[in-house]
């Protein structure tokens, strides 16, 4: 009997998303670190001007979205490995989704104040 056990490709999509978001965050990290180290010691004027620029806000938002998505895949993997009771795992998954969404909301608030 032929049975299709994995049909929806959830695994592949999450795996790929985790890698793409990782590359986005790695590129952002290197650029951000270079800017900060170049302007070291940092002053408020430089710091504020940096985050007043449109491209920096959008890039940081892209980073934050990538982080939330990337972290969700990682958190889900960890919960699937260590938390066996279904009810507890589901509860924790919901809590982490709420937490990561809150991080994202906070980031947007900081960037567009």
């Amino acid at each position: 009997m032929k049975r299709l056990v994995v049909g929806a490709h959830y695994g592949l999509r999450d795996w790929l998303a985790q890698r793409i978001t990782a590359v986005i965050m790695a590129v952002y990290s290197v650029i951000a670190a270079a800017i900060v180290l170049k302007n070291s010691p940092l002053t408020y004027a430089v710091w504020k001007d940096l985050f007043a620029q449109g491209w920096m806000r959008v890039a940081t938002l892209l980073f934050a979205v990538s982080l939330a998505w990337h972290a969700w895949v990682g958190v889900r993997d960890i919960l699937m490995d260590y938390i066996k009771p279904d009810g507890l795992r589901l509860t924790l998954q919901v809590l982490f989704i709420v937490l990561l969404a809150s991080y994202l909301g906070w980031a947007v608030q900081i960037l567009w104040r």
């Binding site: 990782a22 990290s29 504020k48």
Partner: protein, 135 residues
């Protein structure tokens, strides 16, 4: 029948002491578990902490100078930040290694062990360099 007494008991369930002291994890295993631990730490508490620092430092001139001149001078904060930096750098370096492994680069045992050592060393070296800037 001497061999009968030496027959191994199966299945073997792993106790916590066995996991901690009996099983020697190979270096790539250490990179892997540290990747997981650092990732978990980055979600809780470090992402929230980074957001707090960004929020306070961008809010006002006073907020910025408070973070810069007072908050970041507290010893406990500096130690915490050091762990944060290590977690970020290790996760970053190990992550790049995994991206290459996904592309089938460096999967033979010798290379995999070598790159594992490089990742661990690079994470610590980056932490030392950035930590020195902080102090």
């Amino acid at each position: 029948m001497a061999s009968a007494s030496a027959k191994k008991i199966r299945p073997k369930y792993l106790s916590l002491p066995a996991l901690l002291f009996q099983i020697r994890l190979p270096v790539p295993g250490w990179v892997s578990i540290l990747h997981r631990i650092s990732g978990a730490l980055l979600v809780i508490p470090f992402a929230a902490w980074a957001l707090y620092l960004l929020d306070t430092s961008l809010r006002s001139e006073q907020g910025f100078s408070y973070v810069r001149n007072q908050y970041l001078n507290l010893t406990l904060v500096k130690l915490g930040l050091l762990v944060f930096i290590w977690a970020y750098c290790h996760h970053f370096c190990a992550g790049i290694r995994y991206l290459f492994l996904d592309l089938d680069k460096g999967v033979d045992l010798k290379t995999a062990r070598l790159t594992s050592w490089i990742v661990i060393a690079a994470g610590l070296a980056l932490t030392a360099v950035l930590g020195a800037k902080l102090w």
